[in-house]
């Protein structure tokens, strides 16, 4: 009897360990090890990662579209914003660079998705979805490498030997143990273009919500990258392909300038946005602080509707900015159709397709100027047209990160070189062309961890 019960005891205790499945239950229902196409799609649909914290705050703060008064500059809490504003040699003072960190975090997410998708052999029914998700991941990897390259990489144009120019770390795999090294600009250029070309082939023409990149956003980004590298042929080619898919602009005549934010909130139903992304709030660019550059303001004609859509009085005699395409206090930093227009017209003009350039120019402007008074532009020389277009681009792309890309590029073109100046009371700061400070310093902690080369400033 006793033996029997003891055996029973031992068997029942042992059965505990046999209940394998018992310990395999997930501790939280919403926790997953990513494995399906839908899982990776969900990973890339994370708005807080991919759309809400763009990597362009350094280029926005460096831009010459605005100025700050000494008193409002002094009250900026974050040191890097104060330093970047005056193009100081040292910027981060040991603090994090969100542009860098968030950008590489997105690349890490993209790599996880790319590697995960590569392990999946999709069924025929899933093939389209697999292609879409893979293409989105490739877009994100390229987009973020490009944004970081613009900030931290040396500038070089396509005609120069890019392998002599120092670039950025390229993260091609998610493995965190792979050492971080800086590669040259050629490698970055090739990698970005390769990713975008692959994405372009994978995408079909479907469009989802604007937080997801689409074929059109890939083409727009290709145009932007080629423009940055001064490959105007390809820039035009891609802009053209992009506009052929859809070229419908918002008619500013139909917007209400009296609203505190004339564009729809969070870009919802903003038909010009191809890929939606914005910056977290930047205190240097707060509405209460920033004053729009007066030289820029005077270039708008009185019947230019953008005056009312983009700017409002800040109560102290200057204009501040309210024209973000995400319709709130955050700065839009994604990709939009109006940008493809200006890229396309500049590239077209530079490769002597003057009539194409001019028609793009007029098509854009007619949506921006009071329709009762707009007179289309005809018959201008190539140089005049380029000048007109560049002026138009500044007016159209106020407080977009493209300005910094253009400034870096203009240093290397035959056009007029610009000396940027900042004034804080009597203190004048200047940024001459070709200055090393056009390339941002690598954050100190990255150098501490990985020993990569610092940029000379």
């Amino acid at each position: 009897m006793i033996k029997k019960i003891l055996y029973m005891f031992i068997t029942s205790i042992l059965t505990l360990s046999c209940s394998q499945g018992f310990l395999d239950i997930k501790p939280a229902k919403n926790l997953v090890v990513l494995s399906t196409i839908e899982d990776f799609e969900a990973l890339l649909d994370r708005v807080a990662i991919f759309n809400e914290k763009g990597s362009q705050s350094l280029s926005l703060i460096s831009s010459d579209d605005y100025f700050l008064t000494k008193s409002s500059w002094e009250t900026i809490v974050t040191p890097f914003q104060r330093n970047v504003y005056i193009w100081d040699k040292e910027i981060f003072e040991g603090t994090q660079s969100a542009d860098w960190d968030n950008g590489y975090e997105r690349i890490f997410y993209s790599n996880i998705a790319i590697e995960g998708l590569n392990k999946i052999v999709p069924s025929e029914n899933d093939q389209k979805k697999w292609n879409d998700v893979m293409a989105r991941a490739l877009f994100h990897r390229a987009w973020n490498h490009f944004n970081i390259l613009v900030l931290f990489g040396e500038y070089g144009s396509e005609s120069q030997d890019l392998s002599n120019k120092i670039g950025i770390p390229l993260r091609k795999e998610s493995d965190i143990t792979i050492p971080v090294t800086r590669e040259n600009v050629k490698a970055a250029y090739d990698f970005i273009i390769e990713d975008l070309n692959n994405a372009q082939t994978l995408f079909d023409d479907s469009k989802y919500n604007i937080e997801r990149p689409s074929k059109q956003s890939v083409l727009a980004l290709l145009a932007r990258v080629y423009l940055y590298f001064q490959d105007y042929e390809k820039a035009f080619h891609n802009a053209d392909l992009c506009l052929k898919m859809n070229a419908e602009l918002i008619d500013y005549n139909e917007l209400d300038a009296s609203r505190s934010y004339p564009f729809p909130a969070y870009g919802l139903n903003n038909k010009e946005i191809l890929f939606n992304s914005w910056q977290p709030s930047i205190s240097a660019l707060a509405q209460s602080r920033l004053c729009i550059d007066t030289n820029l303001l005077v270039t708008y004609s009185n019947d230019d509707l953008r005056l009312g859509m983009f700017f409002r009085d800040n109560g102290l005699g200057n204009k501040t900015f309210k024209g973000s395409y995400v319709g709130n206090l955050f700065m839009f930093s994604g990709i939009s159709l109006n940008e493809v227009y200006v890229i396309g017209m500049e590239a077209a003009a530079r490769i002597d397709k003057l009539d194409v350039a001019l028609s793009l120019y007029n098509n854009l402007k007619i949506k921006r100027i009071n329709k009762l008074s707009y007179v289309p532009q005809y018959e201008v020389s190539k140089d005049q047209l380029i000048e007109l277009i560049l002026k138009e681009k500044r007016k159209e792309m106020v407080l977009r990160s493209n300005r910094w890309e253009d400034l870096k590029r203009f240093n290397n073109t035959s056009g007029a070189k610009m000396i940027l100046t900042r004034k804080l009371d009597n203190q004048i700061y200047t940024l001459p062309p070709f200055d090393n400070r056009y390339t941002m310093p690598i954050p100190e902690y990255v150098i501490k961890f990985s020993g990569v080369q610092q940029n000379i400033r």
């Binding site: 018992f22 090890v33 649909d45 994370r46 860098w100 975090e105 961890f449």
Partner: protein, 1071 residues
């Protein structure tokens, strides 16, 4: 399967109540003390030749069934001389008197571990036990209040609770300090022999028999992977077979005063506050924008400035404000004397074959805030049945129903009268105006805007605290059921097999009903209005509902082996296995618009995707129900064993071993578990022959070593993600949580303990000393990594958690007790407990982001430093010209604060500890005949706190006042008299950061507090079967001494007010 189990248990309980003693004759009686005639509880009775023991209950009563004449009855009790009587005659009611044993006063103690009961003699580990008497020093309906001051080894950390009014919610416990960096730091709580995951408020303190602390590895390692923070075992009252019938009733009423709102440094007078507002108004600080809230006086100044009112009207309105003090009306309308009523009745009894206990409790708490209330109904049934002489079964069930109403309007909270983006209300606020009408004021947005909106839309967008108080309807109901069953079969004389099963379930509903007139509803409706009469959100009541629930089940099989060999060697051992699962579920918030309470119908079809233009500015979507259910599961399979050898009552050797497996995510099965162990030895010197003649009654040396474990369920082996639904795209999205760690392990704590227990002079004096050291290793820590890899431990990015942290803590616990019979029936009983504990981070290397992190109450872990270190900026005084704080930069004193956030931790001064290193309590009981008086005194030593002061930025932006404002620097020369900075010309966050965290505001926290006084009087009733006690308790009597010169209460200085004194009166009846 589960269902079958219930039926079986149900069957047992029915059986238990159905059985009646069939006997030749039942004998019952009462045992009393010779001389005092007091009934004696806990007397053991045994019929000669039988194996069954009977024990007397509270009233000294017993019943023995199946008795024949001329049987011998042995009666014994440790404090009395044993007696044997022969049952004769036809006497059914025996009255037996026992003579007090003039020898030893035995301290009876049996420690409960949740697996077995260990008599104090056989314990080599570090235990503490607290019986009902000690737990009843406070009559609070909350266990936490009763734990406070029980022992120096248990410290309550109230710092997280400081920011909420009333705040008992976030009090955390530290049993023998800390032993982790990032993982759960709470001690494991055991109820019904299984870990208890629920809320302590679901346990009625009057149902508790005793609480044991398991402090070292020998005591707690049997709990394995959850035991690193110590274990607290709560033993609920149980019925005892053979115990005679007893009824115990307790009625208490506890009253506490309204809080003293005036003894509070958070206010300045209305004229001073308005003076400040006027200064800032003249400096053009207040922006007149639609979205910006202006206080009434700034609104008034603005009206005058705009020429909307003339000087006379201005002066008239101003003078009204000047006379106000919100505290007066708040005291009258928002606060009340708190009353807690507690009723508890419990009945127990039984026969030689079964026993029962039935307890019912009802607590009704009306807190100091008008509109709030809580109540708790608790039922407990416990049945034991002796099916055969070898087979015993127990079944108990607890049912708790809690109900909370949170309808108050607090003076200090944003849920009350404080506007959403502020921390305080201006001092000239009022609840009722001079006409006796409830005051209405703006608490969001610009009052100019609201006025014009209210007029043009014919709506009301103002807030009235008193009207709100009437219509709030926010209730929380919680039902909780706990079932416990135990089957016990004696296989042989030495071997027992037992099975335990528990099932707990809780279910809570929170329903917040916002009527159409409530501010919440009006605000939402107004925000979405698209013009006069154009509603987007219907102008009706809104109902929010959330549901939380949990289920726990656990089963255990255990084999106990107890044998005595040659009368010298006693073996006590057990082995067993258990399985448990705990699931908690949080259902999503459900929102219904236009809800009718009469027919329970609401509306939920709206366009939730559309961004509406909202008033006064911006775009928003209609708030919608949440989309996600959170379900968390905790599963364990464990094996354990415990063995104790004792030789000749002198030498003791104990060992324990435990293996745990859990459902840690993505860990290979062979790594899910880890064996944890302990080893202990003891030497009972007082039983040695050479000690025979000494005055020592007890001298026991103990030494233990062992390993406990701790779990961090946030860490995973594979890269994992969590799913959520994005509120703007509506799409499912995944967030990467961790980069994964294939080497994931449990945290381990290796602890040492050596101790001595002693008692002398017939146990009238005694105590214990324990020294301990805990080395925690393999602690989960964030690994620093180059963010370029994608890992970012500092920003809210993907984290990589690995087992690398090391932490150590050490200290000692001392306990001293004395029992002195002074004579003339006067007895003094004292109990003194003191603990010292300090800790150090040995290995950890994540550098925090900003200097501010060092001023939080939990500071960043830095290798080589204590986890409780207190940091401060060095103070250099005030500038003699401007009254601004001076700071040192590159060797020069300056008032340029630009670089303050960049100061390095090395520039901070370290001022000791932020948590008491010494923690002690002293309890004295003075008894004279039927009267006893006890007092509990708490002491904390060697720690610091940061007192609050005036922060001008918060005064301006959050309306946070401080009466240090009066003492501020006002003119050159003041810097010699005060260290409180002047009003700045421009408000500088960095300047405030420096001053608020400088060492000039750091005070020593050491204090001695009179926690409570209790008076107990047993009415001298003629009828000895009935006992009636009158109890009076005073609690929160305040500080006796504190080291800081400000007279601040270091425990409560950041609370909105000191906890008011409490007075309880109770009646306890036993019969």
């Amino acid at each position: 399967m589960k269902l079958k189990c219930y039926f079986f248990l149900l069957f047992l309980s029915i059986l238990a109540t159905g059985i009646k003693g069939q006997s030749i004759r039942d004998v019952s009686g009462i045992i009393r003390s010779e001389g005092t005639n007091e009934p004696i509880a806990g007397v053991t009775l045994q019929i000669h030749g039988r194996t069954i023991f009977y024990v007397t209950g509270e009233q000294g009563r017993f019943t023995i069934p199946q008795v024949r004449d001329s049987m011998m009855l042995h009666i014994s009790h440790v404090q009395y001389k044993s007696k044997t009587i022969i049952i004769n005659n036809k006497l059914d009611e025996l009255i037996i008197h026992l003579e007090r044993n003039e020898g030893e006063i035995q301290e009876v103690a049996v420690y409960a571990t949740g697996y077995t009961l260990i008599p104090k003699e056989r314990a080599a580990g570090s235990f503490e036990i607290f019986d009902k008497k000690k737990l009843n020093q406070s009559l609070s309906s909350n266990i936490l209040d009763r734990l406070d001051g029980l022992s120096g080894s248990l410290a309550l950390d109230r710092r997280a609770a400081m920011q909420t009014e009333g705040g008992k919610t976030d009090v955390s416990l530290r049993l023998r300090g800390m032993s982790t960096l990032m993982s759960d730091a709470r001690p494991l709580i055991i109820v019904n022999n299984f870990p208890f995951e629920g809320k302590l408020s679901d346990i009625n303190p009057n149902d508790i028999e005793s609480i044991s602390f398991l402090k070292d590895a020998s005591a707690s390692a049997i709990w394995g992977a959850k035991s690193a923070n110590g274990v607290i075992v709560i033993q609920l009252k149980q019925s005892k077979i053979g115990e005679s019938k007893s009824i115990n009733a307790l009625f208490t009423t506890r009253i506490s005063n309204k809080p003293n709102l005036y003894a509070n440094n958070r206010f300045i007078s209305a004229p001073e506050y308005m003076g400040f507002e006027e200064i800032m108004f003249n400096r053009n600080y207040y922006r007149d924008e639609k979205t910006i809230l202006l206080s009434p006086y700034v609104h008034l100044l603005s009206k005058k400035h705009k020429g909307l009112i003339d000087e006379n009207e201005f002066q008239f309105e101003k003078s009204k404000f000047m006379e106000q003090d919100i505290r007066k009306q708040a005291d009258q309308y928002l606060y009340q004397n708190a009353i807690d009523k507690i009723m508890n009745i419990n009945m127990s009894g039984g026969s030689s074959l079964h026993s029962y206990l039935f307890s019912i409790g009802y607590d009704d708490v009306k807190p100091v805030l008008v509109g709030n209330s809580n109540s708790r109904l608790s039922l407990r049934v416990d049945n034991k049945i002796r099916i055969t002489s070898k087979f015993e079964a127990q079944f108990s069930i607890d049912y708790i129903h809690r109900m909370e109403r949170n309808n108050s309007v607090s003076l200090f909270d944003q849920s009350g009268i404080v506007p959403a983006d502020k921390n305080m209300i201006y001092p000239y606020a009022s609840l009722i105006d001079i006409n006796g009408e409830p005051t209405r004021s703006a608490i969001a947005f610009n009052p100019f805007f609201l006025d014009s909106f209210n007029q043009s839309h014919n709506r009301d967008w103002l807030f009235s605290p008193l009207e709100e108080l009437d219509i709030r309807d926010n209730t929380y109901k919680n039902n909780s059921i706990r079932m416990f069953s135990n089957l016990n079969y004696k296989l042989s004389k030495d071997l027992t097999i037992s099975a335990n099963y528990i099932f707990n379930s809780t279910n809570g509903d929170r329903i917040n009903h916002f009527t159409a007139d409530s501010y919440y509803t009006r605000n939402l409706v107004n925000r979405f209005m698209q013009g006069p009469g154009s509603f987007i959100i219907p102008n009706g009541a809104i109902r929010h509902k959330t549901v939380d629930s949990s289920r726990k089940y656990g089963g255990r099989m255990q084999l106990d082996f107890n044998k005595n060999i040659f009368n010298k060697l006693s073996i006590n051992s057990l082995v067993g296995g258990e399985i448990s699962s705990y699931i908690s579920i949080f259902d999503p918030l459900q929102i219904l618009y236009n809800f009718s309470k009469d027919n329970y119908i609401g509306q939920n079809i709206f366009d939730y995707t559309k961004y509406y233009t909202v008033n006064p500015d911006g775009a928003q979507r209609i708030p919608s129900s949440n989309s996600q259910i959170y379900e968390l599961t905790d599963r364990f399979i464990s094996y354990y064993g415990l063995g104790t050898l004792m030789w000749d009552n002198r030498y003791l050797l104990t060992t324990s071993l435990r293996w745990d497996g859990s459902n840690l995510f993505g860990v290979k099965t062979n790594q899910k578990g880890v064996p944890l162990w302990s080893l202990a030895s003891g030497w009972l010197l007082h039983n040695e022959k050479f000690m025979n003649n000494s005055k020592l009654s007890e001298l026991k040396l103990r030494a233990t070593i062992g390993e406990n474990g701790n779990i961090n369920k946030n860490a995973t082996a594979y890269p994992t993600a969590v799913f959520t639904t994005n509120s703007s795209t509506g799409l499912r999205e995944a967030l990467l949580k961790t980069a994964g760690n294939p080497q994931l392990k449990w945290e381990r704590v290796l602890s040492w303990n050596i101790g001595v227990d002693w008692a002398l002079l017939k146990r009238s004096l005694g105590g214990s000393i324990d020294f301990f050291k805990k080395d925690a290793y393999d602690l989960m820590g964030l690994k620093e990594a180059d963010p370029t890899t994608g890992i970012n431990p500092i920003l809210s990015g993907v984290k990589q958690m690995i087992n690398y942290g090391k932490f150590e803590s050490s200290g000692f616990d001392v306990r001293l007790f004395s029992k002195n019979n002074i004579g003339n029936n006067l007895i003094i009983d004292t109990d003194f407990s003191i603990s010292k504990n300090w800790n150090k981070v040995v290995d950890y290397n994540v550098v925090p982001l900003g200097i501010q992190d060092y001023f939080q109450y939990i500071v960043p872990a830095v290798a080589g430093k204590s986890r409780d270190i207190f940091y401060a900026f060095p103070w250099y005084g005030l500038d003699s010209q401007t009254g601004a704080p001076l700071i040192m930069e590159e060797g020069n004193l300056t008032t340029n604060y630009t670089n303050v956030p960049k100061f390095l931790p090395e520039n901070l001064i370290n001022i000791g500890s932020s948590f008491p290193i010494w923690n002690g309590s002293f309890r004295a009981v003075l008894s004279y005949k039927q009267l006893s008086l006890s007092a509990l005194i708490l002491w904390k030593g060697k720690y610091n706190f940061r007192r609050s002061s005036i922060n001008y930025q918060e005064l301006l932006d959050s309306w946070n006042m401080h009466n240090d404002y009066y003492l501020r620097w006002q003119q050159p020369g003041d810097e010699d008299k005060t260290y409180i900075p002047a009003i700045p010309t421009t408000v500088d966050r960095n300047r405030e950061l420096y001053y608020m965290n400088s060492d000039v505001l750091v005070e020593r926290g050491d204090y001695i507090r009179l926690q409570s006084i209790q008076i107990n009087y047993s009415l001298p009733l003629k009828n000895n079967l009935f006992k009636l006690d009158v109890i009076g308790v005073m609690e929160n009597l305040g500080l006796i001494w504190t080291k800081n010169k400000q007279g601040l209460d270091p425990e409560y200085h950041l609370y909105y007010y000191n906890p008011p004194k409490q007075f309880s009166l109770g009646l306890r009846a036993n019969f």
